[in-house]
Structure formats: structure tokens, C-alpha cells
């Protein structure tokens, strides 16, 4: 996170709020993150933690009711407040997104070839024939057999896993520099999820596209991401190298989540260490740490909101607690 590092995408103090009957709904608060060339950054959190809002804000898609503040720099260029035409030129061309539900991301009335070709014809000014040729190449890249024949199919003629691979191919049509993945495997069966993760891994190995991978699945993230940001109630609460973060989480929330997961690679526990309570209402966020009401290590200092700060090396955490990871883990058992 050093200032000297040249980021492909550099987000600072990004906040998104929506007007609500009980005052503004703070969907995203003061999020900082950097995405470097070729890297895969994971973002994990529960519903309402702001992970999808983050992706929408990056694409300038939060809608007219939203109040978006802070800074989003793509190769040094400020995107927040940029002209709509400029954003439209970047979207799908330099920054592309894969959505959670492939069936709603695809137009049911169009053959998948036309849908794949659309972006390339628009952004790269390819002819229809050239764009369809490129579409077939990309279907091959996402490991769909007989790609030329598949171009003539409609979305309903494909299985769920294949549809998701089509949307991945679509996102890659214009060779974007940044790929945004919004829970791309959540709606899929486990064996199909494994296939899609494998496709994403091989694409990243081949193209080196920088990836922001949003998910609520620690296991899926471990297959692709090298760094991870944990979000809670609209804020980034922990950030670091994924291996270190899993092995030695420093935020009580991350620690609790990891301990609450039933796992196949560990003995069956007598009881899962569940985090009590539920995430806060975004319209009525507490002044201090939003996790404090559920935290076993809550302390008077938590009435004041902790800033994200460096603890060890590149590992950042937004918590007043100074305990080592092992002691934080013990607090949950």
C-alpha cells in the first residue's frame, strides 16, 4: 500500500450514500484500495457490506440518487465526475464486469454470437464478421467446445455454467485491463463452480488481466486472489496478503468468520464458533466501530471509529485491538 506503487486503479476515500427515510443510507464509507497490473485482489463480505456498491461505483453505475464522493483513479485519470461519454468509452473496453447471474446478464432474444460481438463492434470498430471470429476465439479460451457452432445458440440453450463462461468471454472481448467479478460462481453448482474458477485461473495466466474478485466464499477467493480486502458495513476492515490473512486474521470479524465456517479439511467441531447478532442497519450506523456490538473483544476505545492502519508488513486492520491473531481467535472459542 505504499504511495510509491504505481496502481492501475487507485481508490481513495470512496463513499456512496443513498437518501433514505431515516437519513442517508451509507452503503460505502471511506474505502481505499489499490489494484496493480496483473494482480487479483479479492473482496469479501456479507450482503450489505458494500462489495457490489464498490464495483458499481468503479463503473459509474450507482444511479442518479446516489451521492458518490472520494476518488477513483484509473492510470492516474480521475473517473469520479468524469464525463458520461468518457466512462462509456472505458466501460466494457478497459474495465469489464462479470455479474453473479449469467441468465440476467444475457439478452434472451439474441444469439450469443451477436451479444459477444456487440462490444467489440462498438469499441474496436470491428466488422460483424471479425467480431464473430473473435467471439469464437474467446469461447475457446473459456473452454467451450465447438465454439463456432455455439455462437448461433440462444442463452436458454446453454447450461448455467456455460452461460457464465459466455459472460466471461464477453467481458474479455475488448481485452480489458481490469476485470471486475461480482460473485461469478455463487449461483453455480459446486462442480461447475470449480470449472469456472479453473477457466478464470487459466485466463489470468494467459492474459494477465488485473482482477477485482468480489465474493462471500473464502474458498473460491483462495483459488484466484493474492491479496484480500474484508468489508463490513460499508468499510474495509482488513487488508493483506491472502495467505497471511487466512492464517493470522487480525480483525475479530475476519477471525470470527473464518472460525464459523464448517470445513472439510479439519475435524468436525463440537460446535461452530458463530458470530452473534447481525450486521447493522446502514441507515443507523453507530458512531464508533460498526462491529463492536458483535465483538468479543469490545473495549471502551471502540466508541471511536478505528482507522485502517498497518499492523505487520502489508497487513492492515481497522481495529483498536493490539492482540496477536492467535489471541483474537481464542476470543471466539
Amino acid at each position: 500500500m505504499t504511495e510509491a506503487r504505481a496502481s492501475l486503479l487507485r481508490v481513495r476515500a470512496l463513499s456512496v450514500s443513498y437518501p433514505g427515510p431515516q437519513g442517508p443510507l451509507r452503503a460505502l464509507s471511506d474505502v481505499d484500495l489499490d489494484l496493480d497490473e496483473h494482480e487479483c485482489l479479492g473482496v469479501i463480505g456479507e450482503s450489505g457490506c458494500g462489495k457490489t456498491q464498490l464495483l458499481l461505483a468503479l463503473l459509474g453505475l450507482c444511479g442518479s440518487a446516489a451521492r458518490v464522493t472520494g476518488s477513483i483513479r484509473y492510470r492516474g485519470e480521475e473517473l469520479l465526475g468524469a464525463a458520461p461519454a468518457r466512462l462509456a468509452a472505458l466501460r466494457g473496453r478497459r474495465i469489464a464486469m462479470v455479474f453473479q447471474e449469467p441468465q440476467s446478464a444475457l439478452n434472451p432474444y439474441l444469439r450469443i454470437g451477436e451479444q459477444l460481438a456487440e462490444g467489440a463492434r462498438h469499441h474496436l470498430k470491428l466488422t460483424r464478421r471479425a467480431a464473430l471470429g473473435r467471439a469464437a476465439e474467446l469461447l475457446e479460451l473459456v473452454q467451450i467446445s465447438a465454439p463456432a457452432a455455439r455462437l448461433r445458440l440462444y442463452p436458454h440453450e446453454l447450461s448455467g455454467g456455460m452461460r457464465q463462461r459466455v459472460t466471461i468471454a464477453m467481458a474479455l472481448m475488448c481485452e480489458p485491463e481490469i476485470l471486475l467479478l461480482d460473485e461469478p460462481t455463487t449461483a453455480l453448482d459446486v462442480t461447475i463452480q470449480a470449472q469456472v474458477l479453473e477457466v478464470l485461473r487459466s485466463i489470468r495466466a494467459r492474459t494477465g488481466v488485473a482482477t477485482l474478485f468480489v465474493s462471500h466464499d473464502f474458498g473460491a477467493l483462495a483459488t484466484l486472489a493474492s491479496r484480500l480486502t474484508v468489508m463490513y458495513a460499508g468499510r474495509a476492515v482488513e487488508q493483506g496478503a491472502i495467505g497471511e490473512l487466512y492464517a493470522a486474521p487480525l480483525h475479530p470479524y475476519t477471525s470470527g468468520l473464518l472460525r464459523s465456517l464448517p470445513r472439510l479439511d479439519l475435524p468436525v467441531p463440537l460446535r461452530l464458533a458463530a458470530i452473534p447478532g447481525q450486521p447493522p442497519d446502514l441507515a443507523q450506523l453507530p458512531a464508533g466501530c460498526a462491529f463492536a456490538p458483535r465483538c468479543p473483544l469490545v473495549h471502551p476505545a471502540c466508541a471511536e471509529r478505528p482507522a485502517l492502519r498497518m499492523r505487520q508488513g502489508d497487513h492492515q486492520v481497522a481495529c483498536h485491538c493490539e492482540l496477536p491473531a492467535a489471541r483474537i481467535g481464542e476470543a471466539w472459542s
Partner: protein, 324 residues
């Protein structure tokens, strides 16, 4: 699996569910969502039903509750659930309850929590006075971890976890023997899943419940169930005790399911194993073994002969090649 001892609560044999897709010149067009599934649930036991979409697991749950027509037999305390009618069916429904995947969808949006939890009592214990009923409702809400301040709330004012707790309270209100859980934690948030899994475990102990726990998440099944049945395209692939199934799976499909599960391993090195081919649509399941089109071990015999369940190691497994 026909050892119907005194402790067998539920004995399902040759259960089949067929959905009609419409009629054409040559007659009715239909497909089998569940084909010849047999299993038992012992008293106090928790049996996991595992499979991916299209495996027939929800169809089995719905068939057991007579929500959809099925053939075969489902013996519950000596009575065939698929044959009983009227009062006898009503009496069985009291003892057999279900909780659903979508907790909000399962609650009537026009009823408040108090009414929702009282409804089974109004229906089955009409002799109870209002006072006694309210007492039981408040006590049950407290047992599932909900305060009485929620009594007047409507479903849309609840979080997913709270709504699922209301569903569990409703299901437990009449003191059932068997609770069918159809993906009860799948739709819940990460930090809420463990709460509800723990609650089910506690309730099971407190009420001496048997569970038929349907899920696609193997880790949750391993946490809650002593025995596991693996389904694929409506057929049983393997039945085994927890230890055997997770440490020595015999069926290639069970192995594939286990291997596909990504683990939050800090080394980040364990890549999930993948099956090369996608599942065929349920409508055109292959001949012989339904898994053969994706099976790395398939041989000619798998296309011609449907494998029967047989004992291999500590499992009952439907595979010609298991144990080789």
C-alpha cells in the same frame, strides 16, 4: 437399507417422482426427477441428502410431505405416507415438518411473527386458550433465539436469519419427530449460517428430532449429519456414514464433489479438481449409469447396465467400478 428395525422412523423404498411436461400426439411427455430412491432414517438420526441442482433432493422432500405426487412407498411408523388420507394424513403432518431454503418466501407476508408461530397451534391444538397459546409462542421464540419484541413484526421487517428462526419455531411448535430441512442455511449470510446450523443442532438435541437435511454444501452436512446419501440426476450414488463418506468415498461422483469444494486453505495452493463435462440436462440422462458421461472411470458396461447399490468398504455404492 431394508433393515426396518424398531428404531426405523422413516423407510423410503423405490421412491419415484415424475414431472409431466405436456402432452403430444404420442401421449404424455414426462421426465423422472427421482428414480427408485430407497433409504431409511433412524429415530434421532440426522441423514444428509446431498446433490447438485437437478439431483432430485427437493423433489424427495416435497414427495415425502405429499406436496407433489410420487410412487413407491414411504413408511412412517408402519403407515404408508403415500397412501394415507384425511385424518391419518393430518396426524402424520403434525409429526413431520419442513423448513425451507428461502425463509422469507416461506412466511405469509400478511401475518406478523406472533400469528405465524401461533398458526400451527390454532390449526392443531384448537382447545388451547389464547393465554396458553401466547405463552407457548413466546417460549418457542425464546428457544430459537428471538425476543418477544419481534412478535408484532411482519416478515419484510425481519433479516434472513430472523426469518429462518421464525420458520424453525413454526416447524417445532407441534413437537415433530422428523424435521425435513431443505437447504436451510444456503440463502443466509456468512455470519448467520453458523448461528442457524448451531440452532438446528441444539434443537435436535433438545427435542430428540430426526433430521432429513438437504444441502449442496458438504461441509455443513458433515457438521450436522451422521449419515449421508449422495444423489445425482435423481438416483442414489452412495450412502455411507459420515466418517466413511468423507474419508473414503467410494463413488467417483462423491469424490468429484469433495474435490470440487474449494477450501479456505491459507497456503492457497490446493486447487479444486474439476470434472471436464457438464451435467447433462435431466431430460436426457444417459442410459446405464447416469453419471457415466462425466465419469473418468466409465467403461462399456456403464452404458449398458444400471449399477445397483452394493456394499464396498463401509459404503453402499452404485458403481460398477467401485472397489476395483
Amino acid at each position: 437399507m431394508t433393515l426396518a428395525g424398531t428404531d426405523t422412523l422413516l423407510e423410503v423404498s423405490e421412491l419415484a417422482v415424475r414431472y409431466r411436461l405436456g402432452t403430444h400426439l404420442l401421449g404424455a411427455h414426462s421426465f423422472r426427477a427421482v428414480a427408485g430412491v430407497s433409504f431409511t432414517v433412524q429415530r434421532g438420526e440426522s441423514l444428509g441428502l446431498v446433490g447438485e441442482s437437478g439431483s432430485g433432493k427437493s423433489s424427495i422432500a416435497r414427495a415425502l410431505l405429499r406436496l407433489i405426487p410420487a410412487t413407491g412407498s414411504v413408511r412412517y411408523r408402519g403407515q404408508d405416507l403415500l397412501q394415507v388420507e384425511g385424518e391419518a394424513l393430518r396426524a402424520i403432518r403434525e409429526r413431520l415438518q419442513i423448513i425451507f431454503q428461502d425463509p422469507l418466501g416461506a412466511l405469509d407476508p400478511r401475518m406478523c411473527v406472533g400469528e405465524l408461530v401461533a398458526e400451527p397451534l390454532r390449526e392443531f391444538r384448537p382447545e388451547l386458550g389464547g393465554e396458553a397459546r401466547r405463552g407457548q409462542v413466546t417460549a418457542m421464540l425464546a428457544r430459537v433465539g428471538l425476543g418477544s419484541e419481534l412478535l408484532q413484526r411482519f416478515p419484510h421487517q425481519l433479516s434472513g436469519g430472523q426469518a429462518q428462526r421464525v420458520g424453525i419455531a413454526r416447524a417445532l411448535m407441534l413437537g415433530p419427530e422428523l424435521l425435513i430441512c431443505d437447504e436451510p442455511v444456503a440463502a443466509l449470510d456468512m455470519s448467520i449460517k453458523a448461528q442457524v446450523a448451531n440452532l438446528l443442532r441444539d434443537m435436535r438435541e433438545e427435542f430428540g428430532l430426526s433430521l432429513l437435511f438437504i444441502a449442496h454444501d458438504l461441509a455443513t452436512v458433515r457438521y450436522l449429519c451422521e449419515r449421508v446419501l449422495v444423489l445425482y440426476l435423481g438416483r442414489v450414488m452412495e450412502i455411507a456414514g459420515r466418517e466413511a463418506l468423507f474419508s473414503a468415498p467410494q463413488h467417483p461422483y462423491t469424490r468429484a464433489l469433495l474435490a470440487a469444494n474449494p477450501s479456505p486453505d491459507p497456503t492457497g495452493l490446493r486447487r479444486p479438481m474439476t470434472l471436464q463435462v457438464e451435467a447433462p440436462a435431466t431430460l436426457d440422462a444417459p442410459s446405464g449409469c447416469v453419471f457415466r458421461s462425466r465419469c473418468p472411470l466409465a467403461v462399456a458396461r456403464c452404458a449398458s447396465e444400471v449399477p445397483r447399490l452394493r456394499t464396498v468398504g463401509a459404503s453402499l455404492v452404485a458403481c460398477h467400478r467401485a472397489g476395483e
